[in-house]
Each structure stands twice: as structure tokens, then as C-alpha cells.
Amino acid sequence: MLSIVDLHVRVEGKDILNGLSLEVQAGEVHAIMGPNGSGKSTLGYVLSGREGYEVVSGSATFEGHNLFELDAETRARAGLFLAFQYPVEIPGVSNMEFLKASVDAVREHQGLPPYDAVTFMKLARQQSASVSLPPEFLKRGVNEGFSGGEKKRNEILQMMLLEPKLAILDETDSGLDIDALQVVAEGVNARRSDENAFILVTHYQRLLDYIVPDFVHVLANGRIVKSGGKELALELEEKGYAWLEPEVA
């Protein structure tokens, strides 16, 4: 589904990703862990098409497309989704209209007609209930005045509505209480299937108690320095990243 080969990325003249490679097949869940500032968010941004993230060399292929030839909206329509570490507040743009615009765009790409307003409203209410986001949040501006946890639920709501093939969750679990964490986990587990894949960026084992990953990777200094199965996360929880130091260096 996603194949990243020897990716080098520069941001504002600074090398952030330094030869990152990663293979993700349909049906898999990958966890990416690693120290702050190691480039985890950068990976999500460059894959989803944020401007200012310069690909120096290497490639990323998603479902047969060269990702870097597509603009951000086309990547999303093709089934790539990034749940932001810091979701953006957009006052004045109603959350409902934003969700509908997204879903319509993705459906149009799939050759499906847009939902009529009533059907969509029902669907959005249903899904927001499933992530425990009260319906008033649909009427507010996008993420406007939402708490940290509410913003993360809103990200998961978007994921549920857009039904992406590959979802990258960038620290969606950070700062969440256990209930919210379960909501996120249920959202992911509900969508887990042979056709979908997930990349979970996280610092904490506790998310991985709920969403059991197939692979765990450690990202440090812009590269994957260690990969393993789910037990690697437990090891990291216990020992931190220091024992990887030789590899990190």
C-alpha cells in the first residue's frame, strides 16, 4: 500500500528526514515511536502534502501513485488521511460544512454523488455519537474552542467519515484520558480490515494495549533505527530510547 524508500526531507534548510524507508501492506498496523524532534510529524506532513517540506531524494509510493506528484487534496481523495498532532482551528467555517465538503470531495473522486444535506447530517450525527462528540460540536467552527481531547475526537470523526485506506494518526493519544483513548482505539479497530492500514505515531504503550500493532518502529534522527513486533514497544516503555543510542548516533 505504502512504500517509502530512502526518503530525505528538508524543512527551512534543515535536514529532518535522513534516509527513511518503510513498507506498509494492506491490513497492517504500524506503530512509530521515537524521541521528540526525531521527525515523526514531518513524515506525516510530507506524505500528506504540506507545503514547505522539501523532498530532497527518495520516493513514496501509495497505491501505485508517486505521492510527491500529487497535490494534497488528491492524496486525500486517493485514500490517505493524517490525523493532526495539533488540529487546526478554523473559526467561521462550520464543522458540519467542513465535514460535508471533505466527504463530498472524496466521494466525487470515487465517482459517487454528494450526499444530500439531510442524509449527511444524519450520518455525521451518528458518527460523532460514536466518538462521543456531542452534536453541538458539528455546528461550531472547525475545532473552534474545542479542548485537546475534543479536537482529537473530531480528527477520528473525520477519519470515520472519509474512510481512508491509510490513516496516519500523529499522537492522537497524547493528552487523552482513558475514555477518550478507548474512543480513538474503537474507531481504529472498527475500521481495521484487510483493505486498510494504519500508522500510529505514539509515545505510549497504553494505546497499543488497545490497538495491537503488527510492527513497531523507532524513528530517531530522521531514520528508522529499529523495527520489531509489538513486544518492541514494551521494551521501549521499559528501557526508553537510550539503549538504542549507538544506532541513534
Partner: protein, 439 residues
């Protein structure tokens, strides 16, 4: 000699049947216009707003009266329960008006129908709130004055239904001038809502409109005010809104400037009693080669008053916008709270904004804040929308609309929100693909 100059005030004389009791007022204003200086580049308050389109426009005549057909959609605000006055090129259209029977609590009358008491009230306040010496166009408006609208609300009366005053222009054979005047006098504890709605009937327009409004709010009075400039692009509008607030009075005023190739609106609030409050919100949108200039002045003359002013503008194409927001806190005005924010969005590299907040503070125990920004659409917001599959162009429109929609959402009367949203949506383009997710 240009068409519009020092002789303009005298060039148009009032009709024979014009209100004699207003003659002294007109005379005074004529003198003030003659004594004033035609604004040019060196006139500070008009520095960025050249009056060439007016000077060269041959507007010095009043419209010829004629029958016009006006579609209801042009002036109606669906869902709004209101009293309505409709003027077309300055002439009242009785068949389009809708007035409640006269009552003690509230009177709506035209100056030409005013009884002696009302005439006395008008003469008492007219030109005392909007001073002709401050603004030559107030003098010009006054020197041409034949008629106007008076809204008077008696003490402690709450008038729920807004007074909706529609000023429509329709093209005439030759270019012409229209003048409007409104006086609102709210007695102590009275409450009312006024909607000033400037509009036109078709794209082709050849008028110069001058609309001056004066509000006198006695102690504890509350006025909700909307001023909507929705004229078509070929109009010129130079007008002003002037309010005096007595103790604990409250004004909530919103303006929308959209349309007209040249708009100049002066807003002035005087806090003349302690503890009065002004909420002043506004939106201006300018595109093509339009030019809009908003000059607002808030005078805090007494203690414990407050003002919150939030103005947002979007400028597209080669259009220009000027915002000058002055807050003046007099020595006596201790414990004043005043905030002014003006944010602008430029949609092109050729659009221009001149924004200048001015704080003048002569009291020490006050809290004041002001900020003015000019920016482009935020990259991060744009990327967020695009990362959800939304087309970049559509995302830009959504973000621009969102920027002003916040202020629309704050309007107290929902029918106005419903009226304005589609109009604003249209402003962002006739391409429904780009605007389909705005409403």
C-alpha cells in the same frame, strides 16, 4: 470647473414645497459647506480616498420622479417581522411601506409629516449629533435636506419589531444625487432596532448617495443598528452614522460595506454619560476597482464606558480599503474599557489596505487594546482543508468566508444572517462549485 465643488451645496435648490421650518438648517449647512475645504490628498481624513469619481461625475441634479417597478426580493428580509419604509431614489413608495398604527410608545414619521412637537424634536437634535463642521459631506447632506425619517421611542418602551428603512437607487437618464437623513431619538430606557438598507435595483447605476444618520440615546436606552451597503457597483456613497450615548445607554451597531465603486462611511460614537457601552462590528468587502473607506471615531467623555469594535475586511483584485479607527479617551473617562480590532485579508497582490488604529488616551485608569493586521489566507488552515480532500480554490473561498462569517453569526436578528449569507456567498464568486459548502 469640476462638477462637484464649493458651489454644489447651492447648486441644487430645494423644491418650492420643501419644509420651510428646515430652511434655517439648510442655510446653516450651506454656509458650512461653503466654508469647508474640498477634500484632497492633503486632507488627512481623506488622504487615501480621492474624490475624483465624484468630482468628474456630473451628479449635480436631483432625480426625475418616475414610476418604477421594484421586485419584492430587492428589499424584503424574509422572516423579519418589521415596520418598513421604502424609498426609491429618495422618494417614498407608500405602497411598499408597512407601518404599524401610530401610538404613544413609538412614532415613525417623515420630516415632511412631522407635527409641531416632532418638528421641535428634529430641530433640537438635527446636526447636533452629526456636526457639519467635522465633515463637509454632512454639511452637503444638510444643505440639500428636504425630508428624512424620525424614529422616536418613549421612555421605557421596548419596540421589538425593527424599523427597516430601504433606500433603493434605480438608474435615471442622467447621473444624479440622492440624500437621506435619519434621526433616532430614544428616551430613557427605550429600546429599538433600526436597519438601514441601501440597495439598488440593477447593475447599471448612476447615482451619488449621501446618507447621514443621527442617534440620540438617553440614559439606559438601547439601540440595535444595522447599516447595510448593498448597492450595485456603479454607485457612489458618502455617508455617516453618528451616535450620542447618555448614561448606561447601549448601542450595538453593525455595518456591511459591499458594492459601490466608492464608499465612504464615517462612524462616530460619543459616550456622553457614564457607563455607556458600544459594540461596533463591521465588515467591508472590496473587489474589482472598488474603493471603500471606513473612518470610525469613538469618544469616551465620561467614566466607566466601554467600547468593543471588531472590523474585518477582505480585499480582492485591484480594490482598495481604508480603515481608520480612532478611540479618544478624555481625561474624565476613568475606568474605560475599549478594544478595537481590525483584521484584513488580501486575496491578491494588487489589493491594498490602509489600516490605522489611533488611540488617544488622556485618563490613567483605563484598559485599552487595539490591533490591526493585514494578511493573506493562512497556509496551515488551507493545508488542513486540502488534507481532507477539499479543492484548494474551494478551500480558499471557505476560509475567506469563514473570516467574516464569524461576525455574521454574531448578528442578533437571524433573518439578517439568512439574508446576508447568500449575498456574501455570491460575492465570493458565481461558481457554485466553490461556494456550495458555505451555507
Amino acid at each position: 470647473m469640476s462638477g462637484f465643488d464649493q458651489n454644489a451645496a447651492a447648486a441644487l435648490t430645494s423644491r418650492a414645497d420643501a419644509q420651510i421650518w428646515l430652511e434655517a438648517f439648510r442655510d446653516l449647512n450651506r454656509q458650512q459647506w461653503l466654508a469647508s475645504h474640498w477634500p484632497d490628498r492633503k486632507t488627512e481624513a481623506w488622504k487615501y480616498t480621492p474624490l475624483t469619481p465624484l468630482a468628474q461625475g456630473d451628479y449635480l441634479r436631483f432625480p426625475t420622479a418616475g414610476k418604477v417597478q421594484i421586485e419584492r426580493a430587492r428589499y424584503d428580509i424574509p422572516g423579519l417581522d418589521c415596520q418598513r419604509l421604502v424609498f426609491v431614489n429618495g422618494e417614498m413608495m407608500p405602497e411598499l411601506c408597512q407601518l404599524s398604527p401610530a401610538r404613544e410608545a413609538c412614532c415613525v414619521t417623515r420630516f415632511c409629516d412631522a407635527d409641531e412637537q416632532q418638528q421641535a424634536l428634529i430641530t433640537q437634535h438635527l446636526g447636533k449629533i452629526a456636526e457639519a463642521t467635522d465633515n463637509p459631506f454632512v454639511a452637503l447632506n444638510g444643505s440639500w435636506l428636504e425630508d428624512g425619517v424620525l424614529l422616536q421611542v418613549a421612555a421605557d418602551q421596548r419596540i421589538e419589531e425593527p424599523l427597516h428603512i430601504v433606500h433603493m437607487t434605480t438608474p435615471d437618464q442622467q447621473a444624479f444625487s440622492v440624500r437621506q437623513r435619519l434621526l433616532v431619538a430614544l428616551d430613557s430606557g427605550a429600546e429599538a432596532t433600526v436597519i438601514e438598507h441601501f440597495t439598488s435595483d440593477e447593475a447599471r447605476q448612476n447615482s451619488f448617495v449621501t446618507g447621514v444618520s443621527e442617534f440620540k440615546l438617553a440614559a439606559g436606552a438601547r439601540l440595535t443598528h444595522y447599516r447595510l451597503h448593498l448597492e450595485e457597483e456603479h454607485n457612489i456613497h458618502i455617508g455617516g452614522v453618528y451616535a450620542q450615548l447618555d448614561r448606561d445607554a447601549h448601542i450595538d451597531s453593525f455595518f456591511l460595506g459591499l458594492g459601490s465603486r466608492l464608499t465612504r462611511l464615517d462612524l462616530r460614537i460619543q459616550h456622553q454619560g457614564a457607563g455607556s457601552h458600544a459594540q461596533l462590528n463591521g465588515i467591508y468587502l472590496s473587489k474589482g476597482t472598488q474603493h471603500i473607506d471606513i473612518h470610525s471615531t469613538v469618544e469616551h467623555e465620561m467614566p466607566q464606558g466601554s467600547t468593543s469594535e471588531v472590523v474585518r475586511g477582505i480585499v480582492d483584485d485591484e480594490a482598495k480599503a481604508v480603515f481608520n479607527g480612532r478611540i479618544h479617551i478624555h481625561p474624565n473617562a476613568q475606568k474605560t474599557l475599549a478594544e478595537l480590532s481590525n483584521r484584513n485579508l488580501l486575496l491578491t497582490n494588487t489589493a491594498e489596505v490602509y489600516t490605522k488604529p489611533e488611540l488617544e488616551i488622556y485618563a490613567d485608569d483605563v484598559r485599552c487594546a487595539h490591533g490591526a493586521t493585514v494578511s493573506q489566507i493562512e497556509d496551515l488552515s488551507l493545508y488542513y482543508l486540502q488534507s481532507r480532500g477539499i479543492d484548494r480554490k474551494e478551500a480558499q473561498v471557505m476560509l475567506s468566508f469563514g473570516f467574516i462569517n464569524e461576525l455574521i453569526g454574531a448578528l442578533r436578528h437571524e433573518p439578517l444572517q439568512r439574508l446576508l449569507r447568500p449575498i456574501l456567498t455570491q460575492w465570493f464568486g458565481k461558481d457554485s462549485g466553490l461556494t456550495r459548502h458555505l451555507l
